[in-house]
């Protein structure tokens, strides 16, 4: 049924969709760019900083977007990135 939904669902706060926390181990990064390219939520982008290997590691644009799918962890050839679930007790 084609419905234009505009309201914030009444249960929006109850239904938990996990919030992710992105951890970068910058000096391990070799700059292949997989995590940036394949993040379904476009959480990452290339940063300007230069790591120990002389390349630009990714940086988090907007962590709130992270849906915790963990693909960055899976696709990273260098074990340089991983995500954990944010503790949202105090709200995120």
């Amino acid at each position: 049924m084609p419905v234009k939904t505009w309201r914030k669902p009444l249960d929006a706060d109850k239904v938990k969709s996990p919030k992710g926390e992105v951890h970068l181990i910058k000096d391990r990064c070799k700059g292949c760019g997989y995590c940036i390219e394949y993040c379904p939520k476009d959480v990452l982008e290339e940063s300007n900083e230069i790591n120990a290997r002389g390349i630009h590691p990714p940086r988090v644009i907007d962590e709130k977007r992270c849906a915790l799918c963990g693909f960055c962890t899976a696709i990273c050839p260098d074990f340089a990135i991983f995500t954990t679930e944010k503790n949202c007790e105090g709200g995120c």
Binding site: M1, P2, V3, R7, P9, D11, C39, F71
Partner: protein
């Protein structure tokens, strides 16, 4: 009653009997039927002409039969109403008297004459005479035809899984026919599944629907295709070939609906089923009682796009390993004999009515949102809460006719809103008796069984009914309370009422995608946009296309009871066809005269049904009669007169043209109208008594595609002042796209007329559907003005049109 009877016949001579019907005063009130009968008796081959009160009555029919036998009539003409109404009646009579029914012809002197020229008795009578002349002229050339019978596939397709579709499918399946139920949503149930209670009985909607849904789910005769779209419908009555796209659910049917996957799914969106009042995940089931219960993945929302799986949370969560992102869409090809269209309706979007503040004020909700809120299984567990503060309001107002019966929305009455509001008001009273309830209305329409009682009950319970819709809803920004301002038209005073919540009683409107279904099943739609029935009174569930039937809100706004009734009716109608196992198709098909054919293949190019195949070695074409639907556009296209059309032969049509232009041609408009749209439109104009000039002579063809350039040229050559070619709108053509050829031909004719220095305005092309009587009437008025401007030279010039062309 007068009689003119001639001598005993010699064999083989044509013996035509003409009957001019009074139709009580319907015709006789305007047309001098006796004069017409007298004229008829003077026409060639007419051996008998009578006028009588009701030709369609039993006595009327008996008379015709008797005459056929006694006077050896071998052609019969009845001048009365539209052949679309009574041709079958008289044909049957002829057959019973041993006369081939294709030797019968009708002159439409009611819808096309008496009713549209109520105040021009003489002119109308002259026109009636012409119409009889034309009919007799054609009759003289009629030939007996053998009808072909085609087998009917004893399977049905039901489009739409709402309560109507469900009922139709179950009825047919229980009768023993195989049914394919195609639903585009993930579950069947439709609108009814969203409702809390049903009026007037106040019983729980899903409680009575769910059992039917599961019956469908497990019925051995029903093939349930949810999440599916119809791509293509080919073929004809009894022999439809339907392509259905079954979109993947990405979950196999081993799904136990345990919901573990949804809990694991990281992404969410508003649940359409709850009108966005609750949340669902990318993998979900729309509601608890969904059928099939198998979950589905919304790939637009899911993190996994195209060829990669980034997120496998659901896959991991699923114990039974039922998730398969590798599923592909399948296209199924179904052979069915009948189709029931039960595609339902949309609801009106009140955001358009800015003054009511929907989507601006949180506490203004729609009646559909109300259903979800008041529903115990709904997003608020049955508590009617204000979205602004989650509090139960102490006062609510219903606003009626939102999007109905008004220029700002739809013109028609949505039929269910009044009772639905009354039901809703009682539900509120039942849960929270102290709630103050106002209903702002135009009229309360409580016409159905048990409706009035419910209305009375509501009033007894203290629901306040105020006549006069508010002009505006204003919000108190602080506490989101709402003020309604308007005029109470009974008390003639302005009201200004404060309530905690406003419920907009929104109307029903045609599906956005109606055009698609319309095109697929070659249906027609009323100006309102709902699908049109073959006859509003006598064939209310048949679509104009043979083998297709209508049920539920797709045909017009209606409540559950009516939808179910109509569904059962549609199922019965489809059942009748399939029970017969075969159907005879009218012997109105193209006919090839091989000797004339030189294999140029132009006919094959224009045939919409691929009924013409080419035999290269013989440099000839071949005609597949079973596939021919009889539009006749091939015949119109053939440059060598190698194809003609049974019952609408060139000779017959030319004879009609000649007869129409026998007297004062230079004042006349010859109109070619297609049977399904333009001619029906003219009938509609008649039924609606729309008056228009008398000098038009309508010639019926099955399709405007049948109108060969030579017919138009003949009319002009005969000195006609103007010619109208009228057919269905593009997309409405009952022969898929034959009317595109019509346009091409008319354009060619226009060019030719320009070349010959003729006024091309004398040839008019119009697209008029069956409900556009008004359009036809005004078109004819328009042409009338042109007729006035056509002078003698112009006519003389055009008389040479054929020779020079």
């Amino acid at each position: 009653m007068s009689e003119n009877i001639s001598q005993i016949p010699q064999k083989d001579e044509l013996r035509i009997g003409v009957y001019v019907c009074h139709c009580g005063l319907n015709i006789a009130g305007t047309v001098d039927c006796k004069q017409v009968a007298d004229l008829a008796s003077t026409l060639p081959h007419v051996v008998l002409a009578k006028d009588n009160r009701y030709s369609c009555s039993d006595q009327g029919q008996e008379l015709i039969k008797k005459d056929i036998r006694e006077h050896k009539l071998n052609r019969v003409v009845v001048a009365s109403c539209s052949p679309r109404l009574h041709e079958p009646t008289f044909r049957r009579a002829c057959e019973e008297a041993g006369l081939n029914k294709y030797l019968f012809e009708m002159a439409n002197i009611r819808e096309h004459c008496s009713w549209v020229h109520l105040y021009e008795k003489e002119a109308a009578t002259e026109k009636a005479k012409d119409l009889v002349r034309m009919a007799v002229a054609k009759a003289a050339l009629l030939e007996p035809e053998e009808e072909m019978t085609v087998p009917i596939t004893q399977k049905a397709l039901v489009l739409g899984g709402g309560v109507a579709g469900i009922q139709a499918a179950l009825d047919l399946a229980d009768t023993g026919y195989k049914v394919y139920l195609v639903e585009k949503d993930p579950s069947i149930g439709g609108r009814m599944a969203q409702l809390d209670k049903t009026f007037p009985t106040m019983d729980c909607s899903i409680c009575i629907l769910a059992p039917k849904m599961s019956d469908v789910g497990r019925h051995p005769n029903i093939g349930l295709l949810t999440n599916s779209d119809v791509l293509e419908v080919k073929g004809y009555i009894g022999n439809f070939k339907v392509k259905v796209l079954k979109k993947p659910r990405y979950v196999t049917k081993d799904c136990s609906a345990c919901n573990d996957c949804a809990i694991a799914c990281p992404v969410t969106a508003p649940n359409e089923f709850d009108v966005g009042l609750s949340t669902r995940h990318a993998i979900y089931t729309p509601f608890a009682q969904a059928v099939p219960s198998t979950y589905i993945i919304d790939r637009d929302l899911c993190l996994n796009k195209e060829n990669i799986i980034v997120c496998d949370k659901c896959i991991k969560a699923c114990e039974r390993k039922t998730i398969d992102f590798n599923m592909k869409p399948e296209t199924l090809e179904l052979d069915v004999g009948t189709i029931i269209v039960a595609t339902g309706a949309d609801v009106y979007d009140p955001a358009k009515l800015v003054n009511y503040g929907y989507t601006r004020y949180p506490n203004v909700i729609t009646s559909l949102e109300f259903e979800r809120l008041i529903n115990a299984g709904g997003p608020s567990s049955g508590r009617l809460i204000r979205p602004s503060d989650m509090q139960i309001p102490d006062s609510v107002a219903f606003i009626q006719c939102v999007g109905s019966r008004s220029e700002s929305g739809n013109l028609y009455c949505s039929n269910v809103c009044c009772m639905n509001t009354i039901k809703d008001s009682l539900l509120i009273k039942e849960h929270w008796p102290d709630t103050k309830i106002y209903v702002y209305y135009v009229d309360i329409r409580a016409f159905g069984k048990g409706f009035e009682d419910l209305y009375k009950r509501a009033r007894k319970e203290g629901v306040l009914f105020v006549r006069g819709l508010p002009t505006e809803v204003v919000e108190n920004k602080k506490n989101h309370d709402l003020w309604l301002v308007g005029e109470n038209t009974l008390l003639r005073e302005v009201y200004k009422t404060k309530v905690g919540m406003v419920i907009l009683s929104i109307g029903i409107q045609p599906r956005q995608d109606s055009e698609v279904i319309q095109r697929l099943c070659t249906l027609s739609r009323t100006p309102d946009g709902f699908f049109m029935e073959a006859h509003p009174k006598l064939r209310p569930v048949d679509a104009p296309t043979g083998g297709v039937f209508l049920a539920g809100c797709a045909e017009s706004p209606k409540d559950i009871k009516d939808s179910v009734t109509q569904a059962s009716a549609a199922a019965a109608r489809a059942g009748i066809l399939m029970a017969k196992g075969k159907v005879t198709v009218e012997a109105i098909t193209s006919k090839l005269i091989p000797d004339y054919c030189n294999g140029c293949q132009m006919c094959a190019k224009v045939c919409p049904f691929n009924a013409i195949t080419v035999v290269p070695e013989r440099r000839k074409v071949e005609l597949i009669e079973a596939a021919c639907s009889g539009c006749g556009t091939c015949s119109a296209e053939c440059p060598f007169n190698a194809i003609t059309m049974r019952h609408f032969t060139d000779a017959q049509l030319l004879a009609q043209i000649d007869a129409a232009t026998e007297l004062d041609a230079d004042k006349k408009i010859v109109a070619f109208c297609c049977n399904w749209c333009a001619y029906a439109g003219a009938d509609f104009a008649g039924v609606s008594r729309m008056q228009y000039p008398t000098n038009v002579r309508i010639i019926r063809t099955m399709c405007s595609g049948r109108v060969a350039p030579k017919f138009v040229e003949r009319a002009f050559a005969r000195g006609a002042a103007a010619v109208l070619v009228a057919g269905c709108h593009f997309g409405d053509c009952h022969y898929i796209n034959a009317n595109y050829q019509t346009q091409k031909r008319v354009e060619r004719l226009w060019k030719k007329m320009e070349r010959l220095g003729l006024d091309k305005n004398r040839l008019q092309l119009a697209w008029i559907n069956a409900s556009e009587g008004e359009r036809l009437a005004s078109k004819i008025k328009e042409i009338q003005s042109i007729v006035g401007s056509v002078n003698f030279e112009e006519i003389e010039k055009s008389k040479k049109m054929t020779e020079r062309g």
